[in-house]
Symmetry: C4
Subunit: 216 residues, 4 copies
């Protein structure tokens, strides 16, 4: 990965061509985040029902709403975070782009276990459904941590204008993610509903806590 061209461009033109800007990486990432979040609604459905029971049916499918809100806010928070942290990155290299791609692969997968939660929560099968959901989020937390560690190690991809204290603030923001999603995963084996509610709580309370970390 160590590249002479990369570290000391032979000419301004090469520098231009080799510098992989963050702009299109962000555009593609934004696209995947926005599309994954918006596709979630397709997972909500009422079973073809007699119209007379539609009112009842619309309340009966509350797990669909819970799953939708949980996944939408989770994806949105990851997006806000990704957006925030990308500003510390000066220029992604190919390895970073690949890690980012794996992260997006996992984020784009979220609608599938979301549908499982929507369909099986409070019915038989809720165990495997929520375990699959929590596993997807845990993999996301692992990949996102690798994403940051790779960029931050030895300030590999960090812009020179970013101070060490700012990096430590971002570190503090990452610290709780992995253990908390591990907790969700373990909880899924014992109480699927509690695991989903904890996931929602994590997303809903992430913003204020992130502000807290940043202000220290």
């Amino acid at each position: 990965m160590h590249s002479r061209t990369g570290s000391r461009p032979a000419s301004p033109a090469e520098a231009t061509l080799n510098e992989i800007g963050t702009t299109r990486l962000e555009a593609f990432s934004d696209g995947v985040f926005a599309i994954a979040a918006t596709l979630l609604v397709l997972e909500i459905g009422v079973h073809p029902a007699n119209g007379h029971q539609l009112g009842h049916e619309l309340t009966r499918i509350w797990p669909s709403y819970l799953a939708y809100v949980t996944s939408f806010i989770t994806i949105g928070i990851i997006w806000i975070n990704h957006h925030h942290n990308m500003r510390a990155i000066e220029r992604p290299d190919r390895t970073f782009m690949f890690i980012n791609l794996l992260l997006l692969l996992d984020v784009a997968f979220i609608p599938f276990p979301t549908r499982l939660v929507a369909e099986y929560l409070r019915h038989s099968g809720e165990g495997p459904a929520v375990i699959a959901y929590a596993a997807t989020l845990l993999v996301m937390a692992v990949l996102y941590t690798i994403w940051w560690r790779y960029a931050r190690a030895g300030r590999r991809l960090i812009a020179p204008t970013v101070s060490e204290s700012e990096l430590r603030a971002i570190d503090r923001g990452f610290a709780p993610g992995l253990p908390l999603y591990l907790l969700v995963f373990v909880l899924a084996f014992f109480s699927p509903l509690a695991a989903v509610i904890l996931t929602l709580a994590l997303a809903a309370f992430y913003l204020p806590s992130a502000t807290l970390f940043a202000e220290r």
Copy 2:
């Protein structure tokens, strides 16, 4: 939420990192608006029919077209408005981004009740279908009002170049939204079809009226 770093950056670098620009917030929002609007078409379908009856079937499903046009124009108008009002915002804070996320969550949900309207309007079940639709739009109007009030209170997030008269013009644009969508919601209990048509009329006439407000 009051942050020393936010109000008086310790260094130019921190200022750069802490300033959450509006660019990617707009990109994500634009994405969700565009995708939600474009996904609406997936909700239109003909029931697997004998080909000989397709012509008849295509006219029979007029509520699908009405629901599609109403939701598409409504999302489009919210988008144009969001776009217009974002230009008064200097820099979003995390609370604002969270409110914006909830607003997008509601907008991205619109395809689901749109499908309900498409399927149940003029059949038994049209009541709950249109109530769910109107409730989604009412929540949207509430969140969007909070969105603006939060940014505007004490000019919290307003760019210094924006004049008070301009803020009042935007206020006038927001004023009719909440009561009108409340009216749609109430109407849904009495005449579902009228509620949908009023929703379409609101969207279709919003632009001229918004221009009216702006010109005063």
Copy 3:
């Protein structure tokens, strides 16, 4: 529509706020074009079949491929054109944004009649299916012509740097659209397959011909 604020801004700040840039209009339009084109693939499906017949099934559904390619290239060409013509626009007003929204509403609708063509071409029902398809494209051509006429009339929204000869070149590009899509629509009543093939030919040959018009 005549607005004092619009035509002569009272202050630089107001000018900034009132000027609705083309950037986000293009972003939203690009989004709808890209999503509508990419959603087309969801309309292709094989009927749940015995695996042994999959090879046969994949050739039997050729109308799906024809419909997909025709709609994708048509949307792509409209997009390239929209992109080209937008560069002559200095700043959109609200009426223009509304016309643009109606144009996008029609473009985003294309996946529905595309699915009808995919399912019914060469079966009973192909008549209504292709008529619906051709009608959608005809409405698109009408709206797109209005879009340009509105912007061009009296150079209402045209950038001062754009010469009259350039405007006439764009006019020549628009000239054949409406009559040709009208021809497709009429043809759909007599030969649905021929109408679809003509639509594909229009899109495939549009680029060279557009270059032709531009070179004169």
Copy 4:
């Protein structure tokens, strides 16, 4: 295609209007890449099953996961590459935009054969399913090669700041694509599973090898 206006603009204004920037071409392309990748998840489904068997069902559908990961990484790699190579392009002409459109048409089609692989791999019908998948990727490799050859021939669309050695580096990156996807296509007739795994390996190992080529 040779255009006087194009090669020697008559005025700065015409130059502005005629110059088709790469920005919106990239935006549309990014959109299609991101949407196609994110739509892949819709192809994964569990057959409506008794909840008690959901855990078993979720492991039984491993070909769906394999197909999802393979297609997502493949589309992502094409995107990173497209992004990388676009930076050598100074300004696309209409022919290039059309070739790009055909490339996107093929990329946007990938979710369909991906679903076939997900459903039929390890069942009867896996042959035609993987052949269709490999054929789609082969067409992609052919179109992408044409895309580059057209831009590169006589430096037709290449920015003057890009050196010949940089062009040769991109050439080396393109060299293995076509023969390798041809190999996948041939392999699909003998061992469908091996063909899918080779496709995944190609995508997963492309980045390091591309770096290798670039460093020489």
